[in-house]
């Protein structure tokens, strides 16, 4: 366990260096979004890759975090409380939704459908709030056009001390590193072990006297809170929130990040998110070929050629090329146990 945390710290330090150097190559404004998407991908990577919960509606928590922040910021002004609400509300909502699903013993694809439908519900509802009757406090929900013009993140206690530009990038980068380390710590704790055990064999864990439903609900809620954090950061970055955040496309994109990056790892989804989001950004600067077509082709090829994702595939290749034959024999299957998974 201690070894895992040491490893996680090493990953965090390397990432910190990469994140600190990155602005030399890509504008911090774009980088900020990549980092926010990284946090969002991490939230699904945690509950799907380690908890075995396939959520088709991670976008619901992302959007909910962003809307909560925007609405609270309009009503309150100073950003500290809205920021905390932007994490707390998705956490509570995920807890309620998770309890409903897990205590109902919903499984695999049906769980996927419920989360998808809930996301669609948000999408539909938010899209239909253009009328003046949809107001929370002084905040108009705005329908399809969303909510612009709210107070963006400020230095706590100083409403005019906006955090923006490079400073905002470093703030999100630090947030990503903290979330990563916290999640690593969580996974190394007994709670994390048991969560992974539930994914492996829910019945066995129940027969040992653990309440799998409560634990899955809690894990799901933590995933919701992290997605909410990503949404909150996004709101401050974009300075507008729109129902598109709840869309099917947004949900699917998060799943794709995880698949392309590599499920069962934490770094994988983050890297997947950053690569694909940057690709989308880069594709928008050319008009030779339709961008939708390119993204579709990439997705198909990834599923067919690298079903485990970029990071685990690269990891295996690297390990193979560095491994000496005499140490290879007695090791256990790569990527199989929690201890092994912790390396990526």
């Amino acid at each position: 366990m201690r070894g895992e945390m040491r490893h996680a710290l090493l990953v965090a330090i390397v990432s910190a260096i990469v994140l600190a150097v990155a602005p030399a190559l890509i504008g911090t404004y774009t980088l900020t979004l990549l980092v926010i998407y990284g946090i969002l991908a991490l939230s699904l990577g945690l509950i799907w890759g380690f908890g075995g919960i396939l959520c088709f509606g991670q976008a619901a928590f992302f959007g909910l975090g962003a809307y909560t922040y925007a609405i609270a910021a309009i009503n309150i002004g100073e950003s500290t409380v809205p920021f905390l609400l932007g994490i707390a509300i998705p956490f509570l909502f995920a807890a309620a939704l998770g309890a409903m699903m897990f205590y109902g013993r919903l499984s695999d694809v049906y769980l996927g459908v419920i989360t998808l439908v809930v996301t669609l519900l948000f999408f539909r509802f938010m899209n239909s709030t253009a009328g003046p009757e949809y107001v929370i406090g002084t905040a108009r929900l705005g329908g399809f056009n969303g909510i612009p013009g709210f107070q963006t993140l400020n230095v706590p206690g100083d409403p005019s001390g906006y955090i923006f530009g490079d400073a905002y990038y470093y703030l999100t980068a630090v947030a990503l590193l903290i979330v990563y380390l916290l999640v690593r710590w969580l996974l190394a704790s007994p709670f994390g072990r048991i969560a992974m055990a539930i994914r492996e064999n829910e019945l066995r864990v129940e027969l040992l006297g653990y309440d799998a439903r409560a634990r899955k609900t809690l894990l799901f809620s933590i995933g919701g809170a992290i997605a909410g954090l990503a949404g909150t950061l996004y709101a401050s970055w974009a300075e507008i929130v729109t129902p598109g955040m709840f869309s099917l496309g947004q949900s699917a994109e998060i799943i794709i990040w995880c698949i392309v990056g590599g499920l069962g790892t934490l770094v994988g989804p983050v890297i997947g998110a950053m690569i694909l989001a940057y690709l989308k950004f880069a594709l928008g600067q050319q008009s030779v070929i339709d961008n939708t077509l390119v993204l579709g082709a990439i997705l198909i090829l990834c599923v067919l050629l690298m079903p485990r994702g970029v990071v685990p595939t690269l990891g295996t290749e690297l390990r193979r090329s560095f491994q000496r034959p005499q140490t290879g024999g007695t090791r256990r299957r790569p990527g199989a146990s929690p201890a092994e998974r912790a390396h990526v």
Binding site: P190, R193, I194, M196, A197, E200, N201, L203, R204, V205, E206, L207, L208, G209, Y210, D211, A212, R332, R333, A336, S337, P338, A339
Partner: protein, 238 residues
């Protein structure tokens, strides 16, 4: 009655039109070793699942150690101090043996005692040498032992085993007999089993199921000699 640790009253389980368990009254004393036998489809496994909470009975009651557990979930039953082994070895294939046993010990032990508890449980089932192997790579017999080791690590006073001898070699069955006898020294044990050889080797009281009901209940030798049992059970089993 009062010293019963497991008791069912009128326990009935129906699936659609089929009654798998039909109005069964069953009772088990503290520290007793009991075998449930019967031909395929006699309802013994369904009965087992009703006791463990994996199935919820259609009607009737289940009492464990003074609690009515009829509608409880498996984890609640387990929390009473009940160790449960399912028919197919239910282990965590992606985890190592040590991690598997740790999971069982963690819930019932203070943090500083977990390591020694894990070591002790692995020692008793002779899986210590496999401690760092991934369970998915082990043989069927080894996996059965890992599962039993997990049950021991959770230090139960009641152990429910569903066909522990299934798929084991003769030598492994002999070892299993010793293990079960060892377990039954400080816990009540219920075993659902097909293998008569194995049941003989652990002796004890036997309950015979047929068509969802209890046909008879007696010492193993008497049961073996009974004509009705031969007819419904041994007859079909050759």
């Amino acid at each position: 009655m009062s010293d019963s640790v497991v008791q069912t009253r009128g326990l009935t389980m129906r699936f659609g039109g089929v009654t798998a368990v039909d109005n069964v009254d069953f009772s088990l004393r503290r520290n007793e070793l009991r075998c449930l036998i019967g031909p395929n489809g006699a309802g013994k496994s369904t009965f087992f699942k009703c006791i463990t909470g994996m199935l919820k009975a259609t009607s009737g009651e289940v009492w464990i150690n003074g609690h009515e557990t009829t509608t409880w979930d498996p984890h609640q039953v387990a929390r009473l101090g009940v160790g449960i082994k399912t028919q197919v070895p239910s282990v965590l294939d992606g985890f190592t043996v040590r991690e598997n046993v740790w999971l069982a010990a963690h819930r019932v032990t203070a943090a500083d005692g977990v390591a020694s508890r894990v070591a002790e449980a692995m020692e008793r089932l002779a899986v210590s040498s496999l401690a760092n192997s991934v369970v998915g790579s082990l043989s069927h017999g080894e996996r059965q032992r890992v599962e039993l080791s997990m049950i021991l690590a959770s230090r139960p006073w009641l152990v429910l085993l569903d066909e522990p001898a299934a798929g084991l070699t003769a030598a492994e069955i002999a070892t299993l007999g010793e293990i079960v006898t060892d377990i039954s020294r400080d816990a009540a044990v219920v075993i659902v089993e097909h293998d008569m050889q194995f049941i003989r080797s652990i002796a004890g009281l036997v309950t015979v199921f047929a068509q969802g009901r209890i046909l008879m209940e007696d010492q193993v030798d008497k049961v073996m000699a009974d004509a009705r049992v031969r007819e419904v059970y041994l007859g079909r089993k050759n």
